[in-house]
C-alpha cells in the first residue's frame, strides 16, 4: 500500500512538474505575474511529493518488504540497518528517486529564498528546473519504476553488493548527487538568462552560492568515493581514471572554472558568454555521467546498469537538455555584450587563463574517456585509454595553472602590475627554492617530478600566505592593527585562502604517495617478517572468523619501528554468504608522514599467504587538502555578501552604480 502511495506521488509530481514548466514560461513571456508565481508554488509542492516517494521506498527497504522487485534485487534480511537504508540509493531505480529528490530540493530552495530575484528570471529558472525533472520522472515511470511489485514475493532478497556495504560508500552517492544535481540549478539559471537575453552582475551574484554549494558537495563526494576505493578495494590506489570517475571529475573541473568565471561577470561585467557556456557544460557533464553509468556504452567497474533500452531514453534526455541548451546558446549568446575592458595582464586575464586551463583539462579527460567509443564506432577496433594518457595530459596542464595560481590573486583588476606582483612574491620564490633543494637532497635518486610537485605546492602555499598577510597589513602597518584587520576580512577572503591552500596540501599528498611509494608483494608464512618504508611487519598468524553476513580470513601483523612495537594491523579477506562475492579489507595505519597499507590474499597451499605491503608517504595529505578546500568553500558560502543575493532594484543603465551598490553593505 505504501509503495503504491509512493508511486502515485511520483505521478503527481510529474503532473505538477509539467505545469511548472509550461505555465511560468508563458507567464514570463507575457509578463503575467500570476502565471509566473506558479513556478514557486509548483516547486514547493513538488518537493514534498517526491520526498514522500523517497520515504515510501525507504520504508520498504527498512522493513525488508520483498514484495517490491527493487528491494528483492538489492537487499537482504541479514543486512545491517545502515545498509538497508543506503541500499535505497545503491541501485539504478532508487538512485533515480534520489536524483529527482535533489532536483526538487534545489527548486524549492530557490522558491523559498529567491525573494529578491527578478520575477521573470525566477519563473524561467524554476520552469527549466521542472523540465529536467519531467524528463527524469518520465524515465523512471516508464522504464525504471522502483515501486514495481514482485509476485509471488520471494522469501528473501539478493543482497546488496558487499562492496557497497560500507559507511563511506553509504554516503558517497547522496553527497555526490547534491553536487551533480545541484549543478542543475545553475544550468537552469543559465538557460533562463539566455531566454531573457540578459546576463548581468545580479545574475552572477545569484548563481554563485548555488554553484558553490554544488561544488562543495561534489568535491566532498568525489573525495569520499576516492577514499572509499582506497581503503575498500585494496589495490592500493585511489584514482583509476575509470570512465565513471572521470564522469564526476569533469563536472568538477568545469564547476571550478565556472565558480571563478562568475567572479569576473560579477565584478567586471565581462566573460559572460564563457560563464554561461560553463554553466551549461557543467550540468551537461553531469547528465553525460548519468548516461555513461546506466547505458552500458562504456565498460566500467562502476557501471550501475547496462540496458541499452534505458540508454536510449537517457540519450533522448541528453539531446533535449544539452542539445537544446547549446543550440539556444548558439542562437542567443552572441547578443550578450560585455562591459568592462581589461588589459591582458590583470586579474581578469588571470581568471581567463584559469578558465582556459581548467576547460582544456576537462576537454582532455572528456576525449580520453570517450575515445574508445569514438574509435569503435568509426573503425571497429577496440582500444582502451588508461592512466598513462590521462596522467600524461592532465598533469602538464595543471603545472602551469598551479604556478599561475600563486600570482593571480595578487594581480589588480583591470590592469595588473606583473613586475610588482613578482617582487612582492620574492619570499615565496625563496621558500620554493629552499623546499625544492631540501626535497632534492632528501629524495636524491628518485623521480625529479617529486621535487617539482613539492616545489609547486610550496610556491602555492607561500604565495597564499603572502596574499593573506598583505591583506592583514603585515608589511605596511603596526602589529596592533593586524588582529583587527584579520577579523574584519570578508569570509570569502579566508575561503579563497583555505581552498587554494587545500590544493597545495593535496598536491603534496599526491606527489609523495605516488612517486615515493614503497611496494612489496610476496608470500609470507606466520612468523616471518618483511621490511617496508622503515617498518618491520611480522605476520603473526591468520585466523578464520564469521561476520554478520560473511566469513573471513583475518591476518595479524605486528608493526615495529626500530625494534619498538607501534601497531597491529588486521587485513581481511571476506567471502559474503549470499552472493558468494569476495572482498579484501585492507589494513591501513594512517599518519601524517604516510600510510602503511597491508593486504592479505589467498593461501598458497603450503602454509604461506600472498601479502601486499605498501608505504605511501604523505597520503593522508590528499584528504586533508580536500578538507581544506571544502572548508574554504563553506567559508565563502557563509559570507554575508553572497547571501544577500541580487541588489535592490535600480533603473536600467547604471551598470557600475549597480556594482558599487552591490559591493557596499
Amino acid at each position: 500500500m505504501i509503495a503504491e502511495i509512493g508511486h502515485f506521488a511520483l505521478v503527481l509530481a510529474l503532473v505538477v512538474a509539467v505545469i511548472q514548466t509550461v505555465v511560468p514560461l508563458v507567464g514570463a513571456a507575457t509578463g503575467r505575474q500570476s502565471l509566473m508565481a506558479v513556478a514557486s508554488a509548483g516547486a514547493l509542492i513538488q518537493f514534498p511529493l517526491i520526498l514522500l516517494a523517497f520515504l515510501a521506498l525507504m520504508q520498504a527497504y527498512v522493513t525488508s518488504d520483498f514484495s517490491l522487485v527493487n528491494v528483492v534485487q538489492n537487499s537482504h534480511s541479514l543486512k545491517p540497518l545502515l545498509y538497508k537504508i543506503s541500499g535505497v540509493w545503491g541501485n539504478h531505480e532508487g538512485s533515480l528517486v534520489l536524483w529527482v529528490l535533489i532536483l526538487a530540493l534545489f527548486g524549492s530552495l530557490v522558491a523559498l529564498f529567491g525573494g529578491n530575484l527578478p520575477p521573470t528570471l525566477k519563473a524561467r529558472a524554476l520552469a527549466i528546473q521542472a523540465l529536467i525533472t519531467v524528463g527524469f520522472l518520465l524515465f523512471m515511470l516508464f522504464t525504471s519504476n522502483p515501486f514495481e511489485r514482485a509476485f509471488p514475493p520471494p522469501a528473501d532478497g539478493n543482497d546488496l553488493n558487499p562492496l557497497l556495504q560500507d559507511p563511506g560508500l553509504a554516503f558517497h552517492p547522496p553527497m555526490l548527487y547534491v553536487g551533480y544535481v545541484g549543478l542543475s540549478m545553475v544550468f537552469s539559471f543559465a538557460v533562463a538568462a539566455l531566454i531573457e537575453g540578459r546576463v548581468d552582475a545580479a545574475w552572477a551574484r545569484w548563481v554563485r552560492p548555488w554553484t558553490l554549494t554544488a561544488w562543495i558537495f561534489l568535491t566532498a563526494g568525489i573525495a569520499l568515493g576516492s577514499w572509499w576505493a582506497y581503503y575498500e578495494l585494496g589495490w592500493g590506489g585511489w584514482w583509476y581514471w575509470d570512465p565513471v570517475e572521470n564522469a564526476s571529475f569533469m563536472p568538477w573541473l568545469v564547476a571550478t572554472a565556472l565558480l571563478h568565471s562568475a567572479i569576473v561577470v560579477e565584478k567586471r561585467d565581462a566573460l559572460k558568454s564563457w560563464t554561461i557556456l560553463l554553466a551549461i557544460l557543467a550540468f551537461s557533464m553531469s547528465l553525460m555521467g548519468t548516461f555513461l553509468v546506466r547505458s552500458g556504452v562504456l565498460t566500467s567497474v562502476h557501471a550501475f546498469a547496462s540496458d541499452p533500452a534505458r540508454g536510449v531514453f537517457i540519450l533522448m534526455l541528453l539531446v533535449v537538455a544539452i542539445g537544446g541548451s547549446l543550440a539556444l546558446f548558439a542562437w542567443r549568446a552572441p547578443q550578450l555584450r560585455g562591459g568592462g575592458l581589461f588589459a591582458p595582464i590583470s586579474r581578469e586575464g588571470g581568471l581567463i587563463l584559469n578558465n582556459l586551463f581548467l576547460s582544456a583539462a576537462a576537454g582532455t579527460v572528456f576525449l580520453g574517456t570517450l575515445y574508445p567509443l569514438f574509435v569503435e564506432v568509426l573503425g571497429g577496433s577496440k582500444v582502451s585509454v588508461g592512466a598513462p594518457y590521462f596522467n600524461g595530459t592532465f598533469i602538464p596542464l595543471m603545472v602551469p595553472l598551479v604556478a599561475a595560481l600563486g600570482i593571480g590573486p595578487l594581480l589588480a583588476w583591470k590592469r595588473g602590475d606583473l613586475r610588482g606582483v613578482l617582487s612582492r612574491l620574492k619570499l615565496a620564490f625563496a621558500v620554493t627554492l629552499a623546499v625544492a633543494l631540501l626535497t632534492g637532497v632528501l629524495t636524491w635518486g628518485k623521480s625529479v617530478f617529486g621535487v617539482l610537485g613539492i616545489a609547486l605546492a610550496a610556491w602555492l602555499a607561500s604565495a597564499m600566505v603572502i596574499e593573506l598577510a598583505e591583506r592583514i597589513g603585515i608589511r605596511r602597518s603596526k602589529p596592533s592593527s593586524w588582529a583587527r584587520r584579520a577579523l574584519g576580512l570578508p569570509r570569502a577572503a579566508y575561503g579563497m585562502f583555505f581552498a587554494h591552500l587545500g590544493l597545495a596540501v593535496t598536491i603534496v599528498g599526491i606527489t609523495g604517495s605516488t612517486l615515493w611509494q614503497s611496494e612489496l608483494i610476496r608470500t609470507m608464512k606466520p612468523g616471518e617478517t618483511a621490511t617496508i618504508g622503515g617498518f618491520e611487519l611480522t605476520l603473526e598468524g591468520v585466523e578464520s572468523l564469521r561476520g554478520p553476513n560473511y566469513q573471513a580470513e583475518r591476518g595479524r601483523f605486528l608493526v615495529r619501528r626500530d625494534g619498538r612495537e607501534i601497531a597491529v594491523l588486521h587485513p581481511e579477506k571476506r567471502r559474503y554468504v549470499v552472493g558468494g562475492q569476495e572482498t579484501t579489507e585492507a589494513a591501513i595505519r594512517s599518519r601524517l608522514a604516510g600510510d602503511l597499507f597491508a593486504v592479505i590474499g589467498d593461501a598458497d597451499g603450503a602454509g604461506g599467504y600472498t601479502v601486499r605491503l605498501y608505504f605511501k608517504p604523505f597520503l593522508p595529505w590528499i584528504w586533508f587538502g580536500v578538507g581544506f578546500m571544502v572548508l574554504g568553500g563553506l567559508l565563502s558560502l557563509s559570507d554575508r555578501r553572497l547571501r544577500i543575493g541580487a541588489p535592490q532594484k535600480r533603473p536600467r543603465g547604471q551598470g557600475s552604480a549597480l556594482l558599487q551598490a552591490a559591493g557596499a553593505e
Binding site: 558568454s273 548516461f291 552500458g296 556504452v297 562504456l298 565498460t299 540519450l315 548558439a330 570517450l370 567509443l373
Partner: protein, 179 residues
C-alpha cells in the same frame, strides 16, 4: 565569424550524441573483446605432447587435413567439462579435425581428466607455462579457434561451446571454408 564560434559546442555535442547512439546500437556488450588475430595466420608454435609417446601439436599440424578446430582446455576448468560432451560428439561424427591445447595445467592432471571423460582430440599440445597461449591471445579457458586451410585463424569462440553455437556459427563456417 564570431557567431560561428558559438555554434561549435552544439556541433561537438551532435557528434558525441551520434556516437552514443551508435554505441547503444552495437550488438555485443562493451566488455566483449574480439580477437585481434582474426584473418591472421595462426602463431608459430611447437608444443610437446601431454602423454608420453603421443603426438604433440605444431603449426603445420593445423592444416594437415584442411580446416581444423583448436580447443584450449585445462583439467581445472569447469566450463571445459561442461562443453566436453560436445567435443566428444564432434570427434565421433568426424566432421572436422579437432586439436587441443592443454593450457596452464599439470600433465598428470590432464591425463587423468582425459582418461576419465574421454579424449576427443586428434593431437594435443602441452602448454604448461601458457606462453603459446599468449601468442594465441588466450585469456581464459575454454576457447575454440577455427583454422582455415591456409592456417589462418578465422573465428574465435570464447567460453564453453553450446550446440547452438556449433550449429549456427562454427559448423557452417567450417563447411564454408572446406569448399
Amino acid at each position: 565569424m564570431r557567431r560561428l564560434l558559438f555554434i561549435v559546442p552544439v556541433l561537438i555535442f551532435a557528434g558525441v550524441a551520434a556516437s552514443f547512439m551508435l554505441g547503444l546500437m552495437r550488438e555485443q556488450t562493451a566488455s566483449y573483446v574480439p580477437s585481434a588475430l582474426i584473418d591472421q595466420p595462426a602463431p608459430e608454435f611447437d608444443l610437446p605432447p601431454v602423454r608420453e609417446g603421443a603426438d604433440g601439436l605444431a603449426t603445420a599440424d593445423l592444416t594437415a587435413d584442411g580446416v581444423s578446430l583448436v580447443n584450449v582446455f585445462a583439467s581445472w576448468c569447469i566450463p571445459c567439462k561442461v562443453e566436453h560432451p560436445l567435443l566428444m560428439k564432434l570427434a565421433r561424427d568426424k566432421v572436422v579435425p579437432l586439436h587441443g591445447i592443454n593450457w596452464k595445467d599439470r600433465r598428470s592432471d590432464a591425463i587423468a581428466w582425459l582418461d576419465q571423460l574421454g579424449d576427443p582430440f586428434r593431437r594435443i599440445g602441452y602448454d604448461g607455462s601458457g606462453r603459446a597461449g599468449i601468442d594465441w591471445g588466450v585469456y581464459g579457458v575454454p576457447e575454440t579457434y577455427v583454422i582455415d586451410r591456409e592456417g589462418r585463424i578465422r573465428y574465435k569462440h570464447i567460453g564453453p561451446m553450446s550446440q547452438r553455437v556449433l550449429d549456427d556459427t562454427i559448423l557452417p563456417l567450417v563447411r564454408e571454408l572446406g569448399k
